[in-house]
């Protein structure tokens, strides 16, 4: 075996420093905004955020490509406006929102969340958005609303990857109602204080930080409250690999990627993966009494 000389490993620190530099530069005016909610919402330190460059050049977005480094380019032709979001199903007040009205109605806040992809990498992302709970409460879910189904956009003419049938389009995801109402669950409208870039799921996506990234559906057009558990795109593709809950869990194996550790983008070596991606204090109580190795 050929050992890696330590001189070759040094760049890890250089990488980290560069990341901090760019993060500081990019944050600049927004730094004040970012501080407060982060302290308030995440007791655990999420670590320094990744750079805008890292966040916008490494995107797992099958609608464009399964190649994460090609997505930003392929997404250039996507048109995030005009956009409507329909909230329907088991609600007393269904409503179709125009994007601009939605942004006016719900005040945006900045939150720095960890993101853990099922493919064994992670980032720290300064999202901007509003709690999904505020939107759902305004629509008054009925007593039959047990789950929430999210449906993404279907535009094969603008989304190159949708011309391949790797997944069922449009992409669908789902949450249990209490997960959807959890204060950490965010409807994301921006990144680093700017409108959301196309490759990150413009104009509206979810951020569910204690679950694998594929639960945080991008480019949402429809939110449907339903009584039975919806089938998600990834469950349909490979139910044994991608469960409905998909909570970040080092004890549930995946055949291709280790879920015990992850590479934080910007670092060279892997670090341990935390249960619920480090949000156990906030969300573990949602699952009391469940065996999460079976309900993965």
């Amino acid at each position: 075996m050929v050992p890696i000389p330590s001189s070759l490993i040094t760049p890890e620190r250089v990488w980290r420093e560069r990341r901090l530099w760019i993060a500081a530069a990019a944050l600049g005016p927004a730094a004040g905004l970012l501080g407060a909610p982060r302290e308030a919402l995440a007791a655990t330190d999420v670590g320094p955020p990744n750079t805008l460059e890292q966040i916008t050049r490494y995107n797992n977005y099958y609608e464009f490509s399964s190649n994460k480094e090609a997505v930003w380019k392929l997404a250039e032709g996507f048109k995030p406006t005009p956009w409507t979001l329909a909230v329907e199903g088991e609600v007393e007040r269904p409503k179709t929102w125009d994007l601009a009205d939605l942004l006016k109605r719900y005040p945006q806040e900045d939150r720095v969340y960890r993101l853990r992809c099922v493919e064994g990498w992670g980032m720290v992302v300064p999202w901007r958005g509003f709690p999904l709970a505020s939107l759902l409460k305004d629509c008054a879910p009925t007593s039959r609303a047990k789950f929430v189904e999210f449906v993404s956009v279907n535009r094969p003419e603008e989304m190159f990857g949708q011309r391949m049938k790797a997944l069922r389009w449009p992409y669908t995801e789902g949450l249990r109602i209490d997960e959807a109402m959890h204060p950490l669950t965010l409807v994301v409208t921006g990144l680093y204080g700017q409108p959301l870039p196309n490759q990150n799921g413009a104009p509206l996506r979810l951020a569910v930080p204690w679950k694998y990234g594929f639960k945080s559906i991008k480019a949402i057009t429809r939110i449907r409250l339903v009584e039975t558990r919806p089938e998600t795109s990834w469950q349909r593709a490979a139910a044994s690999e991608y469960g409905f809950y998909a909570n970040v869990n080092p004890d549930v194996h995946h055949p291709r990627w280790s879920q015990k550790r992850e590479v934080r983008i910007g670092e060279m070596a892997k670090r341990p993966t935390l249960p619920f991606n480090g949000y156990a204090d906030e969300v573990a109580s949602l699952y009391t009494g469940m065996d999460l190795r079976l309900d993965y």
Partner: protein, 233 residues
């Protein structure tokens, strides 16, 4: 007796040291490219992934080149013989390629070692428990280790002393394991490929063709080209 014709075969034969050195240098080019990428911070957003994929890919490419030598040589011998029979022309065959094969096989081993080193040191953090867990949890890692394990005896016997000690026939039989290693590598690659990706497809097709050529030469009709004595140098 006049001077021998100074054709391509003659040039190669009389400057074989240079041919070997050039092959050596060429086989190192990918490794140097990767080191250059590392030093210039050009490994991309996920450097660990780049290192793993690059080294694995080149180990497989080197293995394919190594396995392609005999079929290519057979083809050129056939070509030379038919050209001679038909047009009375002498076309040199490329038997000298065989003399590069051991070296290319060792480069396969080098890239496989780099691949394993990146996995052990950076991915698994040099933690034995992590590696044991990986082998238990992820079949493709087990298959990768099997392929690497089989490469070791081949690399260890890729020298004249081992060839002589084993004898040509036994040595050849042992080194047919290269096909098993190739099969395992392809399985490793497919198991690692994610839903909707077909990166292993071109490699699988080339290896399939090489295997067919091998079977054809063994059982198929047509003239049999006598095996060179591989121990002769």
């Amino acid at each position: 007796m006049g001077a021998p014709p100074r054709n391509f075969a003659w040039l190669v034969k009389h400057h074989f040291g240079k041919v070997r050195a050039a092959t050596f240098a060429a086989a190192l080019v990918p490794a140097f490219c990767l080191v250059a990428e590392w030093w210039t911070d050009a490994l991309g957003v996920n450097p660990l992934n780049r290192l793993l994929q690059f080294t694995g890919r080149w180990a497989l490419i080197m293995l394919i080149i190594t396995l392609a030598i005999t079929p290519v040589r057979r083809f050129t011998v056939w070509l030379a013989q038919s050209a001679h029979a038909r047009y009375g022309k002498r076309v040199s065959d490329w038997n000298w390629l065989v003399r590069l094969r051991r070296q290319l096989g060792l480069f396969t081993f080098l890239y496989a070692c780099l691949h394993l080193a990146v996995y052990v040191c950076l991915d698994a953090g040099a933690d034995l428990q992590a590696i044991v867990d990986d082998v238990a949890e992820r079949p493709f890692i087990l298959v990768g280790f099997a392929a690497f394990g089989l490469l070791i005896p081949l690399a260890a016997t890729s020298n004249k002393a081992a060839m002589r000690a084993l004898g040509g026939r036994a040595w050849q039989r042992l080194h047919r394991l290269a096909y098993v290693i190739a099969g395992l590598s392809i399985v490793h690659f497919w198991l690692e490929a994610k839903v909707g990706e077909f990166k292993p497809l071109p490699y699988s097709m080339v290896l399939g063709l090489l295997l067919l050529a091998r079977l054809q030469s063994r059982w198929g009709g047509g003239r049999r080209v006598p095996e060179n004595d591989v121990t002769a140098r």
